[in-house]
């Protein structure tokens, strides 16, 4: 139905419910090659759930996700995930170089070991984020901004064409944010599709596309069209109370696990 090259990411009618409480309702959008897409929304808007669904880590109740026109499980090598830095133990006994090299482990089998080519790719990724001098350092010795750069380098070294970044700017200062943004921009210029889950509204105009999310898609499009006061109010100004009430009623009445009960659109 679309023209020849498949979209890096296509989310169609994605609906996810936890315990019959919908977290995402019929979310649809798509990304083009070399695009930077910023996903914003308040806490509890379903941003993490969206990421997990895109990574194939949770089963949607309805709808689905396609990466380069295929199910996620078939194209994992072409996609990389950059998690929040809070998620890992920074006392873990590994060096910066080792963390970046881990980007290459995904392509290995159970008994696989990294070879010279993998090490070269890791060194190259480190160089591109400007962290070569830190390769042999322990990860505890990094600042917050450096930790994020190391995670970016790990994703770079995976050789992925679609990168999903979870709040890469959370808790860093303005200068660091600028440096990381420059890196992301550079990767997009090379033709990678970059999806950035983001908290900071002030930099929305620097993305190619913006997705305002609060359980459903409030607005999706270029920032100059989408980032309006009305849209932001709709995104951040409280939930859609009627829908919530309907869900609660259904949840209490529910005696089946039918996911379609959750779809009250």
């Amino acid at each position: 139905m679309t023209d020849s090259p498949a979209h890096p990411l296509e989310v169609r009618d994605l609906t996810v419910a936890y315990d019959a409480r919908p977290v995402l309702r019929s979310v649809s959008f798509r990304m083009e090659t070399g695009q930077m897409l910023g996903v914003v929304g308040p806490n509890g808007a379903g941003k993490s759930t969206l990421l997990k669904a895109m990574l194939g880590l949770i089963e949607p109740d309805f709808g689905g996700v396609e990466v380069f026109g295929r199910p996620v499980d078939r194209v994992r090598r072409r996609l990389a995930y950059v998690p929040q830095t809070e998620g890992v133990d920074w006392d873990f006994p590994v060096t910066v170089g080792e963390v970046v090299l881990m980007g290459r482990y995904g392509g290995k089998r159970w008994f696989g070991r990294p070879n010279a080519e993998d090490r070269a790719a890791a060194a190259d990724a480190l160089r591109r984020v400007g962290m070569t001098d830190f390769a042999r350092r322990h990860i505890r010795q990094l600042s917050g901004g450096q930790q994020r750069r190391v995670f970016l380098a790990r994703a770079l070294c995976q050789g992925a064409e679609l990168l999903l970044l979870d709040e890469p700017f959370a808790g860093v200062d303005a200068a660091t944010e600028k440096a990381i943004f420059a890196l992301i921009e550079q990767m997009a210029d090379e033709g990678k599709a970059m999806l950035i889950v983001n908290h900071d509204l002030s930099i929305l105009d620097r993305f190619d596309q913006v997705l305002l999310l609060n359980q459903r898609v409030v607005a999706f499009g270029p920032p100059e069209e989408v980032v309006t006061d009305a849209n932001l109010r709709a995104t951040y100004g409280g939930r859609l109370s009627l829908l919530d009430e309907a869900d609660e009623t259904l949840r209490q009445r529910r005696n089946t696990r039918d996911p379609h009960l959750a779809r009250t659109t």
């Binding site: 990574l55 994992r76 133990d89 060096t95 482990y105």
Partner: protein, 437 residues
């Protein structure tokens, strides 16, 4: 209890038992690295307790008169008798160990109970089942619960040694072969899952190896203490290194050392062996906490004291540089007023400066040596460069830069880079000349 009778010290049987315990120590230590890093210590404890029903069940199988149950019973009986008892126990225990891990996951998934409570519920439940099973054993059989709880080196036989001789290398080989995958999953399971690596498979693999090792090690330390052999050596290794493979090796060595030294110490002090091993492991851990070069309490103190002394020396040096030669009498009091250090500290700092040849005593006066003057000038230079940097680059009010520079000037090895960054300024924010280095 008199333990000195159980064996001839240093005899062949004792050596076999020590070797067996050390093999358990190595396997527990290496697996412990994953338990510690993945914060599963409670699961380790749970596994060791939860294997009881499996052990009792296997024990029960051997005690049944199978020939009384027809052809099927006869066949089962011949299998049961053909398999050596330790292996039978191992199979039963491994099964219940894995069952426990699965049950814990199910409870977490299908209830609102969080993981720690789920672990507690499942393992105490399994343990209780085991105890009830023991009480319902036929009177003719004798299940030694005490051996299960506290270990009994006397019970270690040839079969146990052989079994450990196979299990320990197998565990090490498996970890060696899957080193990179295990490292990835342990460090960042979320990204591993996103890469398509089965995190659950790795989890159950570690759980499986852990149950096998813990069960095989039960006779050495017993259920209650075996978890110590898993987490204590690994925690000690964690203190000492920043490399994953070094932690694995160290932890294995500590495990073996705890077992070996524990066995010998148990002899010398006529103490039970299991607790002796655990105490040696705890001792290794305590030493690692105190003396770890990176994060150890002792070295940390020493480093801080050194830095404090360095700062004191330089403060006294600078005071002397500013004031010029001063009479020795009342010197310490004058400097003390100048630097807000106690008189005793000034005197000690002065002694150190003289020891380093930076200050000297000439005709009843304290003077700086040429080396001392040079050092003081380096500091003044660093101080003024830092003031400039703070005012120009860090947007600090020039009125407040002095205090901050007073602290930063002790990092004078950075002065040259600072000078370059600032484009070799001549004057500091107060208009004073910055001496050339």
């Amino acid at each position: 209890m008199d333990h000195s009778q159980w064996l001839v010290p240093w005899g062949p049987r004792w050596i076999a038992e020590t070797v067996c315990s050390m093999l358990v120590g190595v396997a527990c230590g290496v697996l412990g690295v994953f338990v510690v890093l993945r914060r599963m210590a409670l699961i380790g404890d749970a596994l060791s307790h939860a294997v009881l029903p499996g052990v009792v069940f296997a024990f029960l199988l051997t005690g049944v008169a199978w020939s009384g149950y027809g052809a099927v019973g006869g066949a089962v009986g011949s299998v049961v008798t053909a398999v050596p008892e330790p292996i039978l126990l191992l199979v039963g225990a491994t099964f219940t160990g894995l069952l426990t891990a699965v049950l814990i996951n199910l409870v977490v998934r299908f209830s609102r109970t969080k993981e720690d409570s789920s672990i507690g519920i499942v393992f105490t439940g399994m343990f209780a089942v085991g105890i009830v099973m023991i009480s319902s054993l036929p009177r003719s059989t004798h299940f030694d619960l005490k051996c299960f709880l506290f270990g009994d080196p006397l019970a270690i036989g040839r079969a146990d040694l052989w079994m450990m001789g196979v299990i320990c290398p197998l565990v090490l080989l498996t970890i060696g072969a899957m080193y990179y995958r295990l490292k990835l999953v342990s460090f960042d399971p979320l990204v591993a899952a996103a890469m398509g690596v089965s995190v659950a498979a790795v989890h159950y693999l570690i759980m499986g190896m852990l149950s096998v090792t813990v069960v095989a090690g039960l006779k050495t330390t017993g259920v209650v203490l075996v978890v110590a052999m898993v987490i204590t050596p690994a925690s000690a290794a964690y203190q000492l290194t920043n490399r994953f493979w070094v932690m694995l090796v160290l932890s294995g060595v500590f495990g073996a050392a705890a077992a070996g030294v524990g066995m010998s110490a148990a002899f010398v002090f006529n103490a039970p062996t299991g607790p002796a091993m655990v105490l040696v492991a705890v001792l290794i851990f305590a030493l690692s906490v105190l003396f770890s070069p990176g994060h150890g309490v002792v070295f940390d103190r020493i480093r801080r004291r050194r830095l404090a002394r360095h700062v004191e020396n330089e403060d006294v040096l600078k005071s002397l540089y500013r004031s010029g030669p001063r009479p020795l009498a009342g010197y310490a009091a004058a400097v003390s007023a100048d630097t807000q250090m106690s008189v005793g500290r000034v005197a000690r700092a002065l002694r150190r400066l003289r020891g380093e040849g930076l200050a000297d005593e000439v005709a009843g006066e304290v003077v700086l040596s040429p080396a001392g003057v040079a050092h003081a000038e380096t500091m003044v230079r660093a101080h003024r460069l830092w003031e400039t940097y703070l005012a120009e680059r860090a947007n600090t009010d020039p009125a407040y830069v002095h205090e901050e520079a007073e602290r930063l000037e002790h990092a004078h090895d950075l002065a040259e880079r600072l000078d370059e960054t600032l484009g070799h300024p001549d004057l500091d924010p107060h208009g004073q000349a910055i001496p050339r280095g």
